[in-house]
């Protein structure tokens, strides 16, 4: 740590170096009047710096440097958790930040949040690594030259004071969900009336809001309740992966489909989509649909449903599947939900009207609880561009927004920006837009600053810093305050705002504000039921004209191109993140690149195979053959091809945002007609899975709901057979205390990959980079196997999280010559890294192939110099700050694998011992379990008959993976159930 601070100081220009230079470890605060509660974080306490390695083999002298004044909350070596909020302009999730010795080392969901229940998506957790990103802007610059904050303030204050009122000063933000920031912007506008606030979302949902404006008079985004639905029909909406609030929806979705705890009913999910999304792969029935026909399909559906209720609407001839779905939907009135993810006003209007027809409004679509996300309006954005083009804008400030990358609109954005005389970028990460800006003002990472949010009316969360800013950064709010001449810090402003606007008598429950504030800060979340609902009423849109326009199929022989967000990278905002880039896309299982996915039939027609590079409207991309994709559909993920995002994101894939055009004023992520031609080159994609069939093996066992209700063990008949056959010469070992076990409900798992990032963060799993993944050297301790079955044009998909199964008869343990892996008295398959000599025999003999070998020095733990393989800067001192000090950083040449988060087990056991009580069931949560949005993973003591694990083990659906080998795995799966019936199939 000591070295780290030094190197940072070296990075900064001399006059900006922290004044605490002399005291490198204990950073003292010289201005006590500005003390904040988080100030202790600057005390980098009890840092043990290893210094002065002596000659030869002699032991280095290690220094131990205590605090000068020890803050009372800090116990060396004990982690603190602080409640905060993740918000990157798209998803918002209340979080807990785990801080060890002053360093945030993990993000977990805040379990006080009703919507997420303590879960967090992969991106939310991975955003931690952006904090330690060496590419972050660290220094304010003016036209590329470093400048001091005081000068920035002086110059801009002067500019603002002497402003020509005929021109606008535009602030472009992403959707502001912070009430206090909103007020601050309003205050700023009050001070400088020529200031205009515009909202720009990286990925646009503006058609959705406009559809509600047409239908309900207000451009709202309603709350969706998948858990209240019995039938969900999705149209091109990846609501489990990327659409709106995937973490929340994933949780609702799984809750409605679980069959544990006595639940016998299961939501049915039908998905119409042109490409195979994560959501579609989870659907009970999935119908490939040409993207250009989505409006036609919905028009047909509307028409069918309208006719059923006796409305007279223009008839639209429905495809067979739509007619059947209409019947099902009609039968589930008020308990169904139709959603579409397409940013098209016709489509969204139809969806609103269909939900209205189905009486879902108020049931599964809560228009009275609008969500404040995605407030951007593409029409307003276009209007802004027009004003910029016509020289009406004198200055533009991009507040954590990147329109040059996200909405280039055929270069229009870029040209418009160039016409604005003064351009300012406030950014916590490098952006393409900043390249066009005069002032580039670095902003802190969200873990370094204060803020609040109001996602749904009356639900407030706080964002609080978990570390002192690593660089000389300042929040956008503080910039505005400085330029407007407001007193105090943004923290003061925020607190005052809360005192005046949020602190109410009901919420206070008799507490003083300070107490209320502290409690809110501790919990991170405050729900004010009094403010919860808003009333809007149905006014109805002009459906007839929409139906008329879309009454026929548009699909022909033309190739269409669908631009979509994939699960790891999303809209590309967090692209400069090694954890996310290394995360395999859940459907294709490819990482580190985007690609053009094509249907098997089309690939066969053109003679393309995976890795052939093709040119799609001038962009060269490798091909990935994707079963289940529409016949004439091509698809490419957005979020890649960043030209100015930092070291990791550069040179990854191609940027396809330039294909985005405005359609009816909304950004359209569909190109109806493209040309695709083969090139002579090939490109190897980094795929973590190359074989996609289960080969008829009983790995993922599944059944249908009807069969399940008849016989809970259906699909899992093999389990009983195998159990009967098991005999052993040896007695089983007795586990006298705990016997840890894990149950994974395959019916709940949606394959969102959040567990993979949680595991990587918790266990210091190395990032290996694209080339190493190509060589199948990826290191993830948990992986989500995905298998296709059936028709290649529309296969069924199953997936299975696989980590070390902690077999009681573990084949790996027998073969290690040096006893580096053996079984603990608590049933854990232990791996002593420091004993391992790296024969890889255990890995060979592992039937589950869950052991990972450190092929190279990925983490800088090796003693041999100059041999690191580190494409993502993970061995930099800065990024190493993310390492969990409770887990050994593995050296080159050793095997590693899932330890069932032994450090968490040990920690909770110690707590129980200190309290002199028995360990409670559910007290220990593994990292993967903790973050799982669907609660698919349960961990506990199999020796405790009352534990949840023991209860689940009685489920007839339970089986061990490859149980016929008699490895006695401690990880047990519950078979998957599909809500599918012979009488009900769509095709």
């Amino acid at each position: 740590m000591k070295e780290y601070w030094r190197s940072l100081e070296d990075l900064l220009p001399a006059e900006e170096a922290p004044q605490e230079k002399k005291s490198s470890v204990v950073l003292s605060d010289t201005d006590s009047s500005k003390n904040t509660r988080r100030d202790f974080l600057k005390y980098f306490g009890f840092s043990i710096a290893s210094a002065a390695v002596l000659a030869g083999c002699e032991r280095p002298v290690k220094k131990a440097i205590p605090y000068l004044i020890q803050p009372e909350e800090v116990k060396p070596g004990t982690a603190n958790y602080y409640a905060s909020t993740f918000y990157d302009g798209a998803e918002m999730v209340p979080i807990l930040v785990k801080v060890r010795d002053g360093r945030p080392i993990k993000i977990e969901g805040n379990d006080l949040c009703q919507m997420t229940g303590g879960s967090a998506s992969a991106r939310v957790q991975a955003s931690l690594l952006n904090l330690y990103d060496e590419s972050r802007p660290a220094q304010p610059t003016l036209d590329g030259n470093p400048i001091r904050w005081e000068d920035v303030d002086a110059q801009l204050t002067e500019t603002l004071t002497n402003w020509d009122a005929s021109k606008e000063f535009v602030i472009v933000t992403s959707s502001v969900i912070s009430p206090s920031t909103k007020k601050l912007i309003a205050d700023f506008i009050a001070k400088y009336p020529f200031v205009v606030h515009e909202t720009f979302d990286a990925y646009s949902y503006s058609a959705l809001r406009e559809a509600y404006k047409q239908g309900f008079g207000e451009a709202i985004l309603p709350s969706f309740r998948f858990d209240k639905a019995k039938l969900v029909v999705g149209f091109n909406a990846d609501f489990l992966g990327t659409w709106l609030q995937p973490t929340v929806f994933g949780r609702q979705y799984a809750a409605a489909r679980k069959l544990t705890g006595g639940q016998r009913e299961m939501m049915r999910h039908i998905q119409f989509e042109p490409i195979m999304t994560l959501t579609g792969s989870n659907a009970d029935e999935r119908v490939p649909m040409p993207a250009v026909d989505e409006a036609y399909y919905l028009a047909a559906l509307y028409s069918e449903l309208a006719q059923k209720v006796g409305l007279s609407v223009p008839a639209v001839k429905a495809p067979e599947a739509i007619a059947k779905v209409a019947d099902e939907l009609a039968a589930a009135k008020g308990q169904s939900l139709v959603v579409s993810g397409t940013n098209n006003i016709d489509i969204q209007t139809l969806v609103v009207e269909i939900n209205h027809l189905l009486q879902n409004i108020g049931q599964t679509v809560l228009v009275d609880q609008p969500v404040n996300l995605y407030q951007g309006n593409d029409k307003a954005y276009e209007a802004l561009l027009t004003r910029m083009e016509s020289d009406k804008v004198g200055a533009v400030l991009f507040w954590e927004t990147n329109p040059v990358y996200h909405a280039p609109l055929q270069g229009r954005t870029e040209e418009a920006i160039k016409k604005v005389p003064l351009r300012i970028a406030v950014q916590s990460q490098q952006t393409e837009t900043a390249l066009f800006c005069n002032y580039q003002l670095p902003a802190p990472h969200f873990l370094e600053r204060w803020d609040d949010t109001e996602l749904v009316k009356g639900v407030y969360t706080l964002m609080q810093p978990a570390i002192r800013p690593l660089f000389k950064t300042r929040t956008a709010q503080e910039n505005l305050m400085a330029w407007a001449g407001f007193d105090g810090t943004y923290y003061d402003y925020l607190k005052l705002f809360w005192k005046e606007n949020i602190y109410t008598a009901e919420l206070a429950k008799g507490k003083q504000f300070e107490t209320f504030w502290k409690v809110s800060l501790r919990d991170g979340i405050v729900a004010d039921a009094g403010k919860a609902s808003e009333s809007v009423s149905y006014i109805g849109a002009d459906v007839a004209s929409v139906l008329k326009v879309n009454s026929t199929s548009q699909s022909g022989n033309d190739l269409e191109l669908v631009l979509y967000q994939n699960v790891p990278v999303g809209d590309g905002t967090l692209a400069n993140n090694p954890w996310l880039q290394e995360l395999p896309e859940p459907v294709s299982r490819v990482c580190w690149d985007n690609y053009v996915s094509v249907s098997p039939a089309f690939a066969a027609l053109r003679g393309w195979t995976q890795g052939d590079v093709v040119e799609v409207n001038g962009v060269e991309l490798p091909v990935l053959v994707q079963p289940g994709q529409g016949r004439n559909t091509l698809a490419v993920a957005v979020g890649y091809g960043r030209s100015n995002a930092g070291r990791v994101a550069s040179d990854l894939g191609q940027n396809v945002y330039p294909f985005v055009t405005l359609n009816n004023g909304h950004r359209s992520y569909l190109v109806p007609k493209v040309e695709a031609t083969a090139t002579s080159s090939t490109y190897e994609l980094a795929a973590t899975q190359s074989h996609h069939s289960m080969e008829g093996r009983a790995l993922v066992r599944e059944t249908t709901i009807a069969e399940y209700l008849e016989n809970p063990a259906s699909g899992n008949e093999m389990h009983e057979k195998v159990e009967k056959l098991h005999t052993s010469l040896y007695h089983e070992h007795e586990y006298k205390g705990h016997h840890w076990g894990m149950v994974i409900d395959l019916n709940s798992c949606i394959g969102c990959n959040a567990c993979v990032v949680a595991c990587s963060a918790e266990n210091n799993v190395p990032v290996v980079g694209r080339n190493e993944v190509r060589r199948s050297h990826e290191m993830h301790w948990i992986r989500l196997d995905r298998y296709y079955s059936g028709d290649t044009d529309n296969p069924e998909v199953v997936r299975q999280p696989v980590m070390c199964q902690h077999c009681d008869n573990a084949p790996c343990e027998n073969v290690c010559p040096v006893a580096a892996t053996n079984h603990s008295s608590e049933g854990i398959n232990q791996m002593a890294y420091n004993r391992c000599i790296g024969t890889r025999y255990c890995n060979n003999n592992c039937p589950y192939k869950v052991r990972r070998f450190n092929w190279y020095d990925y983490t800088g733990a090796d003693t041999i110099p100059n041999n690191r393989v580190d494409v993502a800067g993970m061995t930099l001192d800065l990024k190493r700050m993310v390492l969990n000090p409770d887990v050994t950083v593995r050296a080159k040449g050793v095997i590693e694998k899932c330890s069932m988060c032994i450090q968490r087990i040990q920690d909770k056991k110690l707590t129980a011992k200190k309290d002199g009580r028995q360990l409670a069931d559910g007290e220990i949560k593994t990292a993967c379990q903790q973050t799982c949005p669907t609660d698919a993973i349960t961990f506990g003591d199999m020796n405790d008959p009352n534990s949840k694990v023991s209860q689940l083990l009685k489920d007839a659906r339970q089986y061990g993976l490859l149980e016929e080998l008699h490895t006695l795995p401690s990880v047990v799966y519950l078979s998957k159930v599909r809500n599918k019936d012979k009488n009900k199939t769509l095709s």
């Binding site: 074989h691 299975q800 073969v815 092929w855 041999i864 040449g893």
Partner: protein, 455 residues
């Protein structure tokens, strides 16, 4: 001793004891030829390349090899098993054939044993360098330490450590004890000088005393008795590396006999390859004759047929077991992405040796030379097939992957050839290639014409 009159002589030409001494001593005298120097240089270059590859492996990591998360062993262990297999011929010839009193072993046992030792040295290299943390390799020895940690005696790899090191030690002892009288012979042919001193030192002061001979014979016999099961145990234990595992294609009870016969098969082939060249190069045609060739080829037919039956048995058992994983593993071998390796193995190991049923072929040096090389290629592929094709597609299709070696792995393999031939070239230059005393002891009964010197 009674010798069947129908047996043809093992040694051709008119030989006396002195002639034997002279013939075998001849290659060690004078300046070595260009061929020898050229061969040694080539071998040293190969060795150097191998050492460089090993350096790269240790410095940069096993990542320089073509292995991955699914395939933990590739060329490294393939080469290990192959070399160990080759290292079976020598001790098999000296020990088991000694026990069976096969006289034809006398002409070939010395060089075969030397070959055994060199091959085992090459083999022993691989388990070491395939470790991710070679500097900590000493962990595999059960030595007392302040950690109180011992080793895992359940691990076949640990058994390997004991088996290979015991085998190397015992083979070395056996070989050297056999060499002592012959070193004595060489020593006595040398004129006074440093060379003579060195050979004196190496000969352990051998005098040829009848008492010594008696003890020597008794020791050799018991050592042979010990070495015979040892030979069988070594490849049995190597086969345990695979047989005790759970991987389909490895988890097979017939592995021990199948591996041992495979080992003898490949070992004999290698001996033949080398001997056919050596006898020509250093004029030992009289001592290594067609009848030797035929005897060895007969063993090749026998062991080759055992191997062939084992292959077929494997297929049958896989089908008969009804286990999908087993069945798939064998279908995948024959028709999966590595089908070519399987069919190379089948052709070279099962079909080619059957040609030895023809007397003409089994008595032809040229044909034997070609076939012996085929057998060695085939046996290498057998190990490759067992290791790589079993691993690359095991239980979970999600983890299936493909393997191809990198230049580093190839380099190490070439390096072991360098090591092997460097040692072999040094051996033929400094030690008698044929067991002089043993040949003399059978000279009367096995020679075309025995002449007594002086009379």
């Amino acid at each position: 001793m009674y010798v069947s009159p129908v047996r043809e002589p093992l040694i051709s030409g008119e030989k006396s004891y002195t002639k034997v001494t002279e013939d075998i001593y001849a290659p060690m005298t004078g300046k070595p030829g260009k061929l020898w120097f050229g061969g040694l240089t080539l071998a040293l270059i190969a060795l150097g390349f191998g050492l460089f590859s090993i350096f790269i492996t240790v410095w940069d990591g096993i990542g320089t090899w073509g292995l991955d998360r699914t395939i933990g062993w590739g060329w490294g262990i393939t080469n290990f098993v192959w070399w160990v297999g080759i290292g079976h011929a020598g001790t098999f010839i000296s020990a088991i054939l000694l026990l069976f009193r096969q006289k034809w072993r006398t002409s070939i046992n010395r060089s075969a044993e030397a070959m055994t030792i060199f091959a085992v040295m090459c083999a022993g290299l691989f388990p070491l360098i395939h470790m991710g943390r070679l500097p900590l390799g000493f962990f595999i020895f059960p030595y007392p330490n302040t950690r109180d940690v011992w080793v895992n005696f359940n691990s076949p790899l640990l058994w390997d450590v004991f088996a290979i090191s015991t085998y190397l030690t015992v083979s070395l002892l056996f070989w050297y004890m056999g060499l002592i009288p012959d070193i004595g012979t060489i020593r006595d042919r040398l004129k006074e000088g440093i060379k003579k001193k060195i050979y004196w030192f190496l000969s352990f002061g051998w005098t040829g005393s009848a008492r010594h001979w008696a003890r020597h014979e008794s020791m050799s016999l018991i050592l042979a008795g010990l070495a015979a099961p040892l030979v069988l145990s070594v490849h049995t234990i190597v086969s345990f590396d695979f047989a005790t595992s759970v991987i389909p294609g490895w988890h097979t009870t017939i592995f021990p006999p199948y591996f041992v016969s495979g080992a003898v098969f490949s070992g004999f082939a290698m001996v033949l390859t080398l001997m056919i060249i050596t006898r020509k190069a250093i004029n030992l045609e009289d001592y290594i004759t067609k009848s030797h060739l035929e005897s060895m080829n007969k063993i090749i037919i026998a062991t080759g047929s055992i191997v062939g039956i084992a292959y077929i048995t494997e297929l049958f058992i896989a089908w008969y077991s009804g286990v999908v994983y087993e069945q798939y593993a064998f279908v995948n071998r024959a028709f999966g992405p590595y089908w070519w390796a399987y069919w190379i193995m089948m052709t070279c190991n099962v079909i080619t040796p059957q040609l030895f049923w023809f007397k003409k072929i089994r008595r032809s040096f040229a044909a034997t030379f070609v076939i012996s090389i085929f057998v060695n290629i085939g046996m290498w592929f057998e190990r490759f097939v067992i290791i790589v094709t079993s691993l690359h597609r095991d239980f979970l299709p999600s983890s299936w992957s493909m393997y191809s070696p990198t230049w580093v792995e190839v380099g190490i393999y070439i390096g072991t050839f360098g090591l092997f031939f460097t040692l072999f070239f040094l051996f033929i230059r400094f030690f008698p290639v044929i067991a002089i005393a043993e040949v003399k002891s059978v000279l009367k009964t096995s020679t075309e014409k025995f002449i007594k010197k002086g009379k």
